[in-house]
Amino acid sequence: MKFTTLVAVTAVVGASFALGACTTGEPNPYGNKAGDVWSGYKTATAETHAMQDDDFENPAMPVVDAALETYNADPGNGASCASCHGAPDDATGGKIGVPMKGVGAKYPIYDPATKAPINVELRINKCRTEAQGAKAFKYESDDMQGMTALVNMQSRGMPRVTTADEPGDVLNPAFQAGKEFYYQRRGQLDMACKHCHEDNPATLIRAETLSQGQSNGFPTYRFKWQKMGSLHRRFRGCNKNIRAEPYGYGSIEYLNLETYLAWRGRGLPVEAPAVRK
């Protein structure tokens, strides 16, 4: 009698584990078994892993170091990031009780001011211009990406979570728009994201192994870029590759796509700053 109860409990626990972040929304297109959803880390070489796994070896870190200095510096009106939020790894969230931990795992979130998703980059600029009396960072600058990486790093290892797929969720319209984008053919090569990342992950396109197109490692140091770059930069590159006109950094199209991708990769651990080819 006791044994059957134990089995039943294990089964329930096991099932909810396999489903990742519990959701009443859409089924995961990749499946629900452990390992069905994977990041680019899986297909990277041992040498690349060695660079990502060690914070000293990681070539993105000098830029993150510089961002930490900015985090602690007075932007002009005395309100450094630290003055409100405490140290980046302060779990209590400093004076205003809003910690950096968890941000990288749950963004993008809904911004009632713009009635649209807001990602970490844009949130940083919102703080800078509204709370700190400072100039906004340029989206793809080292300043911005370094700060975004610094924030996301505080959620390292935490599983990505979202409720955007649930009907009635405030981010659901953005989720649906992002989903539409994902499956929409575009560009001269007339391809959709799904053709590579849903239909053919882990297979080769010429000499390149396709990933699932997950976003949990961004900002990422890409060898091809010889520097750390944003998810939107990657979107632009992908769009250009299929000869489609890319959208802008921080554009609503890419914010919607980012919202949708956060759901496709839910359960994946935050890996920022990742190192990829």
Partner: protein, 107 residues
């Protein structure tokens, strides 16, 4: 050189101990072969020299060419002998020098 280079050096070591030193600079290492949007060559600008001095005496150096990756990484060993200042310097084609000094106590 915009960002400060990073150096990994233990704060203390035993005399005779083999210490692994790791360094990572932040630099584009522009080869001079790339062209900009107008089609003009972007001029070469790389870090061409790295040096490590212990209490003023050179113990290790490297001469870098354009084939060294951006954000140059160099690691090497030092036998811990004397306590003191370990000075690391990176020099670029324009003669600009970035220096990081770290103290290591040898017992």
């Amino acid at each position: 050189m915009a960002k400060k280079p990073r150096v990994k050096l233990p704060k203390k070591a035993k005399a005779g101990e083999l210490v692994l030193v790791k360094t990572l600079a932040s630099h584009k290492m522009e080869t001079g072969n790339r062209k900009d949007k107008k089609g003009e060559k972007i001029p070469r600008l790389i870090i061409n020299k790295f040096m490590c001095k212990v209490n003023g005496t050179e113990v290790f150096s490297a001469d870098l060419q354009t084939a060294v990756s951006a954000d140059p990484y160099i690691s090497f060993y030092i036998t811990a002998k004397e306590s003191g200042s370990y000075e690391f310097s990176w020099t670029d084609d324009n003669g600009k020098v970035a220096t990081v000094t770290k103290e290591m106590a040898v017992s």
